[in-house]
Amino acid sequence: MDRLVKRILPTSVAVGTGLLVLLGYLLPIPLLASVRDELIRWAVIIAAFAFVLGFFNLLRVHSGRARKPGGIYSVILILTALTSLVLTMTALMLPTLRFLGDWWFRYVLSPLQASVAGLIAFVLAVAAFRLLRHRRETSVLVFLAAALIVLLGTLPLPAPAGNWLANLRTWWMNVPAMAGMRGLLIGVGLGILLIGLRLLTGSDRPYSD
């Protein structure tokens, strides 16, 4: 019974659903197409409900951490999440109070997110400064050279060095970088195909034991 509930049933549902959606795309049968669209609609509903569960799980986890040392950050997180929830729900239900939600987003969330993202520039600058501190391998030297070419090639430096750097940057972006990126995309595509096949055949069962 335990094996049926934890392994056989989830695997059967997942494989069956995947095959129905796949056949709905491959075969020009209206019934299969309607079943495919209905299953995709179910997936969207389940994903939306997962957000609700995730929100309450976040509150539960940080409620436990709030009592431990350093729990002040968890308290702030809980208060922020509850405030966002209350303001957003109020703005949706009472259009006259919509300004509360707009104010919260424009003057709290946006500046905080932009500030955190701005720290990345400082971290990257420090990392660039320490690039050769620990490793002096060929790959690090190539990375250093490519970064300098792209950074300096974008700048409107005076000719003829500026023009030479701009042409070098264009070649670098269109040939080596593009080749690497195409290789990455092909690898990602093959990986997605392989994962899909493994899920359809039941070799991978991330949804069960």
Binding site: V44, Q113, A121, A125, L144, L148, L155, P156, M181
Partner: protein
Amino acid sequence: MIYCPKCGTANRQGSKFCNECGTPLPATGLRCPMCGALNPVGNLYCDHCSARLIPAEKVSPEEEKSERPSPPKGISLPSVPLGEEGWLSELRAEVEALDLPPEEEIPEWLREREAPAAPAAPEAPPLEAAVPEWLREREAPAAPAAPEAPPPEAVVPEWLRERETPAAPAAPEALSPAEKPMPSLAGIPVSPAGEAPEWLREVEFAPPIPGGPFAQPPETPTADIRAGAPPEEPAAVPPILPVEELPVLSPGEIPDWLKEAPEEAPPELGGLVPAEIPQWLRALRPREEVTVEEEPAETEGFLVGLRGLLPIGKGLDMPPTAQPLLPRAPSPAAVARAELLQGLLSRPLLTPPTIAAREVSRPTGWTVARFLVGLILLAAILLPMMVRLPLSGLPTAPTAEALFAMVNQLPGNTPVLLAWEYSPAESDEMDRVARPLIEHLLRRGARLIVVSTRLEGPAAAEALLASRLADPSERSQRIANLGYLPGQAAGVREALENLDGRTEAITGLPASQTEAMAGVHSVADVGMVVVLAAQPDDLKTWLEQISIANPNMPVVAGVSARTELISTPYLTAGQLGGMVAGLTGGAVYERQLDTGRGREYEYYLTSLGVAQLTVAALMVIGALIFLVGGRKR
């Protein structure tokens, strides 16, 4: 501890092999007399069956009346006395309520059982009391001193009568003890006349008592006969004396040969030795009255009130090899480790260093370097505000120019699906990419249908669109914000097929009732799809789903600088009709659109150029420092 019999090493209790030399260690413990399990030394009760391992000591009646003594504590047993189970207490109460006869009224079966134990037969020798009934019957022919009443004639077996008949034609008045009934021989086959049966020959070949009636030693070894070897000569079988030649003794008289026998001779009686009596049979042998009285009665457990059930002194199972030896002298290494441990324990306790102390202990040079890098970056941000630097030339972006041309070809009042895939964290860059593109679409009279797979996407779109269309009526005609799409790729796929089935996020109206969504049911009804993506994955998701839903749908993108590289393959493959990438692409689009914000983009481009130049300089300086100074670990 168990000491190794070979090297003397002390091993942990329960070890099977020596930890030093690997020699198998003897098992020690108390053997339970009831179940046979081996218990740790010191246990009073068995760990497996709860039987008492050590007999209870005899307690005087005064002590029993004063206080019931608590049993000594064992090793693995509870310190409190074992209480009776509920069912046992109930059963005991029922038995007491039955009004049983007093103790003197012993049942018939118990009296028969106890009868042999009582010394009620003074004429019988003590030896007979210790021998079972069947054994006494076998011994009877050898000890004719206990005459019994003559058995009936028919009890004598046929073969014996035939054998006796020629030897004693005239039967005596009183039958000899040899004619006692032998029921145990009834099933034995009769041997031919003049030849003793097999069982009798085995008995006769046993070592006889010197001076007894069977004093003649056998000539043939018993083992040969038992092995089945046929007797070669009939003379090898010792002759059996006729019954009439046996001496007739009066009752209570002991024959001479028996008097001369040593005290330990009884095992030889009848050719049997006591070792042949089974254990279970010996356990059933009645005990003497005196012995039973000396053993105290059990006061606890299931054996309350019973005596003599546990043997005294037989529970300890200690092999002779388990001699506790003194441990060897510790090795120098062990002594050194012990001294080190003692030294560590004798040290005063040190308070752990706090986080602040650990930070102070970091190299000062590294802190200074980080501080300098921060100062340089701050200067790179502030410098373009104070000084106009010649770092913002006229950039070129062919993809942005191609996109501008595509938007210019859109007919008026065309619905355009706008995928808003960036959050406020990326809005500093993406707003300057999206703003000229949206401005251009609105100028062309397009209706914008906004969706997003990011939670902050609809709000970020509303913040930008509200600044462009402040009039609510105009906004409702030109913009429909359909909000967040859960489910990632599945959500995009579902939305592309069912755009009018959603709800407008700002007004709360069904999308099909808004003016901006007039005539739009799915992605097939829009004239263009614009993807504003800050992350590469978002752009890939939209391109894949649109190519499935409507492969001929024109798709353009406004992306961040980091997404530009991964977008280029889709652009060259034709899946993307045009693209605006980063601040440079936005500046080119802005310049072509001519919205009057050229100075703003020039400032941002100058700041970006200064930052890029600063980072490049830091990389070069850092590389030189660490190349010259050496690698740090």
